[in-house]
């Protein structure tokens, strides 16, 4: 598939932004009292968010999961709003109600982030149903991890989406760990994409560290979906560099395994390809990195300078009145 220079630049930029954003979080969450709650990062998995979102139109919808930062940044969510939300500040994109785990950015059609493993899939089916009902030429993408494929909701959602030929893309970001469980310890199925056969839908395995491969698979599946051809299950094979959360010491992840996957980092993979083709120059990349550094610093400053919500604001936003 031909991918335009603009798309490649977009993917490289969003991967660099996600990486810088999460590297900042790795440092910030070590400082006692700065960031509340858990810190769950997708460092090393950025090609999935970048490749998926680059293949979508502005009216498509994404539903994501607890490891969502790279999805949301790739989708175009404002770093300031995300960072302030992660800090628990009033200026956060959800006024401090969601924290890092449930970030919802409806402005960019990232309608919901659910931390209940596998729960995004039935919701994505509902959004895709609405798209089909209104005869839109749009699709819904649901991003979930390999652990989610063990949930009942995964199977109910795939079955219904296939039955009704809904325009939904189920994207499994297989990072090889579900909590502390290695992939081989939670299922005997070699490829999660193979489960597509059980629901009479298309299934595809792609290199989840190759943004271009992810982009191509998603662009094709999206085309099929909006043409009425039904859903696709795409499995992006990648790897979780960090622990389940930042407090996880990863004693169950072999060090040489982590090191080997770091060698397959998705950023140089795309960057070096673009350099080799003359699509970007080293100074342009430095400029891009400097800009991103400034964006993330600005987001952190914004979050730090923002006020916390007043305690009684906890009572707001339960119902539409």
């Amino acid at each position: 598939m031909h991918v335009s220079k603009e798309k490649k630049v977009e993917m490289l930029r969003t991967m660099l932004l996600s990486r810088r954003f999460e590297e900042s979080l790795t440092e910030l969450c070590k400082i006692q009292g700065k960031i509340p709650g858990m810190m769950i990062l997708g460092t090393g998995q950025e090609a999935v968010g970048a490749g998926v979102c680059a293949a979508l139109g502005p009216d498509d919808v994404i539903i994501t999961n607890h490891r969502s930062h790279h999805h949301l940044l790739s989708r175009g969510a404002e770093p300031r709003g995300l960072m302030a939300e992660i800090y628990g500040k009033r200026t956060g994109c959800n006024k401090g109600k969601s924290g890092t785990l449930h970030l919802a950015v409806p402005e960019v059609n990232a309608l919901c982030t659910t931390t209940v493993v596998g729960a995004g899939l039935p919701i994505a089916v509902g959004v895709a149903f609405a798209q089909q009902y209104r005869k839109e030429s749009t699709a819904t993408v649901c991003l979930f991890g390999d652990g989610a494929a063990d949930e009942g909701s995964f199977h109910e959602a795939l079955n219904l989406a296939s039955l009704w030929r809904l325009p939904v893309l189920f994207i499994c970001e297989n990072n090889h760990y579900a909590g502390a469980q290695r992939y081989e310890e939670h299922t005997r199925v070699k490829d999660i994409a193979g489960r597509a056969v059980a629901y009479a839908m298309a299934g595809e395995v792609v290199d989840g560290n190759d943004a271009l491969a992810v982009y191509a698979a998603v662009a094709n599946a999206r085309g099929l979906a909006v043409a009425g051809g039904g859903p696709t299950l795409i499995e992006c094979k990648t790897y979780r560099w960090r622990g389940h959360g930042e407090s996880d010491r990863q004693q169950y992840q072999p060090k040489d395994e982590i090191a080997a996957w770091r060698q397959k980092c998705p950023i140089p993979k795309l960057r070096d390809d673009m350099l080799a083709q003359g699509l970007v120059t080293p100074p342009q990349i430095q400029q891009m990195e400097a800009k991103i550094h400034e964006i993330v610093q600005d987001a952190v400053r914004f979050a730090e300078d923002s006020p916390y919500p007043r305690p009684e604001e906890a009572l707001e936003d339960v119902f539409v009145h």
Partner: protein, 325 residues
Amino acid sequence: MQQLGMGQAVNQALREEMMRDPGVFVAGEGVGVSIMDNPMLPTAGLLRDFGAARVKDTPVSEAAIAGLAVGAAAAGLRPVVEIMFNPFFTLASDMIVNHAAKLRYLSGGKSSFPLVVRIKSGAGFGAGSQHSHNLEAWLAHCPGLKVVMPSTPADAKGLLKSAIRDENPVVFIEDMTLYFAPGPVPDGEYLTPIGKADVKRQGETVTVVTWSKMLGVALKAADRLSQEGVELEVVDLRTLAPLDKETVLSSVRKTGRLVVLHEATRTGGFAGEVSAVVMEEAFSCLKAPLRRVTGPDIPVPASPPLERFYIPDEEKLIAAIKEIL
């Protein structure tokens, strides 16, 4: 005035709202083609009259049915989905409790989820505990949900129409025995407000707070006790969440005596909540300890004498009332 069973009243509400708003659709197990071919049932004839695009028979997949509602509502439609029996709600509960109820809050008020989950409920069919377990107290315990449990066909119609137009998720629980008990339903368009209890009978001696099928038990007991000079005031909550405290409290302030009656089991039942509100806010008006009349803390049994023992009746209610006179 027309005489309709509650199922027919629900059916009329669905039809009117589907005609009014093209974003309203109905989905669930057997909502189109049903194993129960009975015109008294709520979704009878909808498939014929509205077509398969808007009346969606689903696979036996309660999580997917509820997820369908959450996602479609987030995307701007107005889903009305059906859970076939109240105990099957447990299979859909993650979508309702963790998602429908919470996602607006988690979005900081940016998103809304205007959906209705209709649940068929109630004992009395000999179907046993996995089909006949009333779980309204679980639902009322979840912030972000409105919980409606009508007792008359007229209320069911007006409340369901309000539920469909509500911007929030509403769980609408229908006792199936009421499908087959016709009652008057006003002609023409009307809405019944959610969150407003209704005094179904006025009286001076004892307040009975109840809802759903148990209203009939309360009214029968009221007729009998009236012959003995005991006048019950029967408050039909209609909505459990949000609870209309004022109507309950003003009745208790008048009578000074309270019995709460529900079919669901006792421990953790919603009678506890009603009682606590009265103790906190009208304790000084009480002339006697309050009483709860509920199902016992057992799964609903199947055999007719066992099931009859489970469901509260006038005898049990009258006995409880006489204890506090």
